[in-house]
């Protein structure tokens, strides 16, 4: 029988891993739950108020507005982003050699650049009435430029941010789809060609179904992003962020503002728990979608 001695590598590394995650994840999570039952500014006031934070949350119209905005963000960003990138990847996959490399590089460039800088550039492109987009739209479609106020119009502000976000990450999704398309065997396409299927038909009946794992994966990633979105809205909407008239307020932003502007840390913690609950729900849905058997 072998005598087990304590392995110093295991002892040291496992302790560091456990200690670090206890400090930056386990304890903060527990403390955050604890905070949801308190009214505190982390300095002078700190008292137990039971479930009042949750009770207030469900009657808070701004919370419902933020939640709705997050779902709207998800509902547009995810399908439009995936369909456009799928088409881009399909087109790029028809090219080869140097031109394919150049296209990939162009489409991917916004992915590596800073979201803060990109938000500022788009904010100026969206400049009301005389900005570049306003001029383009009024010239191309004859729209009244005085009505094109983009980010200052509560009806369009969030949509403008979503369009920017779709642009920013489309290269990433395209590259993931391209990698998937490369793995589809050529023999499938040849068989379809012999049967006389058009290229569009081949795309719909071979490429898209075989990219199902990538589609599910990207849907999951971007749904999570849509629930957590924060930076572009903080950067592109006025002072305070989330306007005009709360039309771009999202949960992460409301949480930040309640906690760090309003010093209502207990209430901020409560909103963050809602973000957490939504993410857990999404991940469970994603796991189910992955495990589902697919019949052709």
């Amino acid at each position: 029988m072998r005598i087990r001695r304590v392995n110093s590598y295991v002892a040291i590394v496992a302790t560091i891993v456990l200690g670090y995650y206890a400090l930056v994840c386990l304890w903060p999570f527990a403390f955050n739950v604890y905070l949801t039952f308190r009214k505190t500014d982390l300095l002078t006031e700190d008292r137990f108020i039971g479930i009042d934070n949750y009770r207030f949350l469900f009657r808070d119209p701004i919370f419902w507005r933020s939640l709705r905005n997050n779902l709207y963000y998800l509902g547009i960003m995810v399908p439009v982003g995936i369909v456009t990138s799928l088409l881009c990847a399909w087109l790029i996959s028809q090219t080869s050699g140097i031109s394919r490399k150049i296209y990939t590089a162009m489409y991917f460039a916004p992915v590596v650049t800073s979201m803060v800088a990109v938000s500022l550039v788009w904010q100026l492109l969206y400049f009301p009435k005389i900005g570049l987009f306003a001029q383009l739209l009024s010239r191309a479609f004859g729209l009244d430029p005085n009505k094109l106020t983009f980010l200052q119009n509560p009806a369009t502000a969030l949509l403008c941010i979503i369009i920017m976000d779709i642009w920013k990450d489309s290269g990433l999704r395209t590259v993931v789809f391209l990698a998937g398309i490369d793995e589809i065997p050529d023999s499938l396409y040849e068989a379809a060609k012999i049967e006389g299927a058009s290229e569009w038909k081949q795309f719909l009946s071979i490429t898209v179904p075989l990219l199902r794992p990538q589609i599910i994966f990207l849907t999951a990633i971007y749904s999570i992003n849509a629930i957590r979105v924060y930076v572009p809205i903080y950067m592109m909407t006025g002072n305070p962020p989330g306007g005009p008239a709360n039309s771009t307020k999202v949960l992460a932003l409301q949480m930040y503002q309640e906690a760090f502007y309003g010093m209502r840390f207990g209430y901020g913690a409560t909103i963050s728990m809602i973000i957490f609950a939504l993410l857990v729900g999404l991940v469970l849905l994603e796991i189910r979608a992955f495990e589902q058997k697919w019949e052709y």
Binding site: V13, L18, F31, R228, V231
Partner: protein, 281 residues
């Protein structure tokens, strides 16, 4: 014969249409950057004007001069570089150490510990934001590098990635070293680390990009301008200076262009790295 010529002509037209679409799409992707760079050389009143022209009518460097005067941009570069480098080095080192621990070594509670690391991916940054802020305040780490890097020293996704990679290393190699009397630390440094270099390079690019772009945590932990990282400095500056779009575009250009240059050189690595893992923050 005729039908072959016709077939070729159709194919030719199809290729032209294909490239026309792709070039149009590519221009949409890079146009905002081109506009940003040209705007940074325009006087502010010219940036937003009724008659659009891409090239500046009168080229000027005044925007850059003003930004460098008003903004501690060199300090911002230094802060971003220091913070992102510490985070990247630490994340690579800890991910490979833990990757070896979870893939090749057996000990009591291993699966539970690994599950804990994976579960932390599920916890969004917002949930730990307030508690970590309270912790940083208690440590008096507000406005310090320690405070800025603290929550990112170990990356759960990195641990998972390295575990997958190290799993593929044959056990015989490790057993042979062990028979020669090498400790696990020795095995880690002289066998594991050299073999996972390429995976570490990919992970390094990803972690560096994420940390370079991190916004929420610095926003909460840094109040002094001298400690701000680039994205924060940029946000801080433009919110105060929204009246001067030329200057704002000059500041953006100075933040974006270095990354785009590095990207142009290592393009394949960026694309491969991100598509391989398919993930971002």
């Amino acid at each position: 014969m005729k039908s072959i010529i016709r077939y070729r002509r159709i194919r030719y037209i199809k290729r032209i249409v294909l490239h026309a679409f792709l070039i149009a799409g590519g221009l949409v992707m890079v146009f905002p950057f081109i506009w940003m760079i040209f705007s940074s050389f325009k006087p502010s009143i010219e940036v937003i004007s009724v008659d659009f022209h891409l090239l500046p009518r009168s080229w000027t460097l005044r925007n850059y001069v003003r930004v460098l005067e008003e903004l501690k941009l060199p300090r911002g570069y230094l802060n971003s570089l220091v913070v992102s480098s510490i985070i990247t080095l630490s994340a690579l080192f800890s991910a490979s150490l833990a990757g070896y621990l979870f893939s090749k070594l057996r000990f009591w509670g291993r699966d539970a510990l690994f599950f804990l690391v994976l579960a932390s991916v599920m916890v969004p940054p917002h949930v730990v934001l307030i508690p970590l802020y309270a912790l940083i305040t208690a440590f008096r780490w507000v406005d310090t590098y320690q405070g800025l890097v603290f929550p990112f020293l170990m990356n759960a996704f990195g641990v998972f990635l390295m575990r997958q990679f190290i799993r593929g290393i044959p056990d015989d190699l490790i057993e042979a070293a062990r028979i020669d009397g090498a400790s696990d630390f020795r095995i880690y440094f002289s066998i594991i680390l050299p073999l996972v270099r390429s995976a570490l390079a990919v992970l390094g690019i990803l972690v560096f990009l994420w940390s370079y772009d991190e916004f929420l945590w610095p926003l909460v932990t840094v109040h002094k301008e001298g400690m701000m990282t680039l994205p924060l400095l940029l946000g801080h500056f433009t919110q105060a200076e929204a009246k001067y779009p030329g200057e704002s575009m000059a500041a953006c250009t100075m933040v974006v262009v270095p990354v785009l240059i590095v990207y142009a050189f290592f393009q394949q690595h960026f694309v491969k790295g991100i598509s391989m893992t398919g993930l971002k923050a």
